[in-house]
């Protein structure tokens, strides 16, 4: 597996790509925060926020629909909010019988359900955009500048660096299990559920030991290259006047959307 197998970065030379990663991280968070406090049913503000996402997509040269196409990931969770449709307060809209219970969808419930979905859908789009226009190591570096403790950013950097190595390891384990597990069509293969769980558990244990021993080798390799407890970067990450301007402008826009939503 290649080292960037998990990367969601799309290389372009756009205005958004050139921004300091701190700017992108902060604006993303402010946008999601603003979404969270928009009142239910603030349709105009939701539409403007979507406009914000579309314009950011366009400025990133990814195509208008880029984040839209990838925003389906948040959908399954909508199931959990479905009960809010049957809120007890509000005017009934539709009523139907399911099994023995009578379900009534109310206007308040529907308004709240749709608002939750829109908020979630807008938020996930900016998060998708953030990693599409920022290299992950740069993002980690931005977190460090934003005062996330060094121990966490270092663990995250290692996680990112070795994830594909250990994923390869998992694939080797799974391939080994598959080659051991011959099956004849029409017959059930493998043992009981307990037996299968035992195999999976041993695989996890095996993976743990391989990772543990690998971390020893990694540490020794790092020591021999002069590691003394800190990771250094050659990328200076300087905030330029353009970065400050874009931050101020984006936050002002989000503020205006928020005000419109509250009118």
């Amino acid at each position: 597996m290649h080292f960037d197998a998990f990367d969601r970065y799309h290389d372009h030379d756009s205005l958004v790509h050139r921004l300091d990663p701190r700017v992108k991280a902060v604006v993303t968070i402010v946008f999601i925060l603003s979404n969270a406090v928009l009142p239910d049913g603030a349709w105009l503000a939701f539409a403007l926020a979507w406009g914000f996402v579309l314009v950011s997509n366009h400025l990133s040269q990814l195509g208008l629909g880029y984040t839209f196409k990838r925003s389906i990931v948040a959908l399954p969770f909508a199931l959990i909010a479905i009960t809010v449709l049957f809120s007890r307060v509000g005017e009934p809209l539709v009523a139907f019988n399911l099994f023995s219970s009578r379900l009534v969808i109310t206007d308040v419930g529907l308004l709240r359900f749709v608002s939750i979905l829109i908020r979630s859908w807008l938020s996930v789009q900016v998060a998708i955009l953030l990693v599409a226009v920022t290299r992950f190591p740069d993002l980690i570096h931005a977190l460090e500048h934003l005062r996330v403790p060094a121990i966490l950013t270092t663990i995250i950097a290692f996680l990112y660096r070795y994830l594909f190595v250990l994923t390869d390891e998992v694939f080797r384990l799974i391939r080994a299990r598959e080659s051991r597990s011959g099956a004849v069509t029409g017959f059930r293969s493998g043992g009981s559920v307990m037996w299968r769980a035992r195999v999976a558990g041993s695989m996890a244990g095996q993976l743990f030991l391989r990772s543990y021993e690998r971390s020893d080798r990694i540490y020794n390799a790092m020591l021999s290259r002069g590691y003394a407890g800190h990771l250094y970067t050659l990328n200076p990450h300087e905030m330029r006047s353009r970065d400050y301007f874009v931050t101020a402008f984006a936050i002002a826009l989000i503020f205006v959307i928020q005000m419109i939503g509250r009118l």
């Binding site: 998990f6 406090v37 969770f77 996680l159």
Partner: protein, 311 residues
């Protein structure tokens, strides 16, 4: 690619601001404590170890085994991480895993990341490790049996916290979601328990030195037994009660002034999550959240002092 999201990662938009910020503050407090503890006890050698272990948990979540009807057993890893790495390091590892899942894969939101870390990283590690620690010197069979229960309860704790946060945010009705979430996770927890037990059994057989005397896992204090035990007890007592009578739980919470659509109790410190003189604006709600967190923080510090004094 090759990455299946688990049903417990809450996306942005599903929790309201107060619950999100409150969860973040609790998470920051616990993670901050974990950082200061690990900084004291770990050398520079442990940093690459924790990093690779975080990648291990992430990769181990891809290992599954078929159960029946297309479903499969998975590992979340909170309990396993805390048992093999020690509770504080385990918490940091889980925090990083959940942060990368949210940042890189959008599995779980950013504003609600505090809640996700709390549910799936910190609570699972505390319950998993606390129960394991209570039998750390027992024979292997007992140890593995308790590990299984601990892993199952760690998943149930995560599910319980997730359900409560969704309900307090007004996203779902407790009556339906509580039994549904707990029921589904009772099954998911079985997969977690089996994989954790067999993985730990494998490690105990091949490299017992990693978990023996002097390892990070054995060094952590007895306070964990109390912390993990209390959370587990809370889950065990609350779950059947609420599953049998979710309306009852809602009524109790309403009486205690927890939810705004009921009448507030005469004793509630922060009625309807707002500060009276600020009026019913979101700023007032945020202020109320902050006050609540300060109170919780004080309680946490006092408990921490107590535990420290005793050890």
């Amino acid at each position: 690619m090759h990455y299946t999201p688990t049903p417990m990662h809450i996306p942005d938009g599903f929790l309201n601001l107060v619950v999100s910020i409150f969860s973040w503050l609790v998470t920051i407090a616990i993670v901050g404590l974990a950082i200061s503890k690990t900084n004291k006890s770990l050398g520079e050698r442990q940093i690459p170890l924790m990093g690779v272990m975080a990648a291990f948990i992430f990769a181990a979540q891809m290992i599954n085994f078929p159960v029946a009807g297309g479903t499969s057993g998975h590992l979340l890893g909170g309990a396993l991480a805390a048992i093999v790495l020690g509770p504080w390091a385990g918490m940091l590892v889980m925090t990083s895993v959940i942060a990368v899942q949210a940042l890189l894969f959008q599995d779980g939101g950013l504003l609600v990341m505090g809640a996700n870390i709390l549910n799936m990283g910190l609570a699972t590690a505390a319950v998993g490790y606390g129960l394991y620690r209570s039998v750390a010197s027992s024979p292997k069979g007992v140890k593995l049996a308790v590990t299984g229960v601990a892993a199952w309860l760690s998943v149930m704790t995560g599910a319980l916290l997730t359900t409560l946060q969704l309900w307090l945010s007004g996203t779902s009705q407790l009556t339906v979601v509580f039994p549904a979430m707990m029921g589904v996770h009772a099954l998911i927890g079985l997969g977690e328990a089996l994989i954790t037990v067999f993985a730990l059994g494998f490690i105990l057989q091949t490299r017992p030195d990693l978990l023996g005397e002097g390892s990070e896992s054995a060094k952590a204090g007895k306070g964990w037994v109390w912390a993990g035990g209390l959370i587990a007890l809370f889950v065990v007592l609350l779950s059947p009660l609420a599953s049998a009578d979710p309306d009852g739980l809602e009524r109790v919470a309403t009486d205690a002034g927890f939810i705004h659509n009921g009448q507030s109790a005469p004793f509630s410190i922060i009625p309807d999550y707002t500060i009276p003189f600020l009026g019913e604006t979101s700023f007032s709600t945020i202020a109320a959240g902050v006050v609540g967190v300060v109170i919780v923080g004080l309680v946490a510090v006092l408990i921490g002092r107590g535990i420290k004094a005793r050890s």
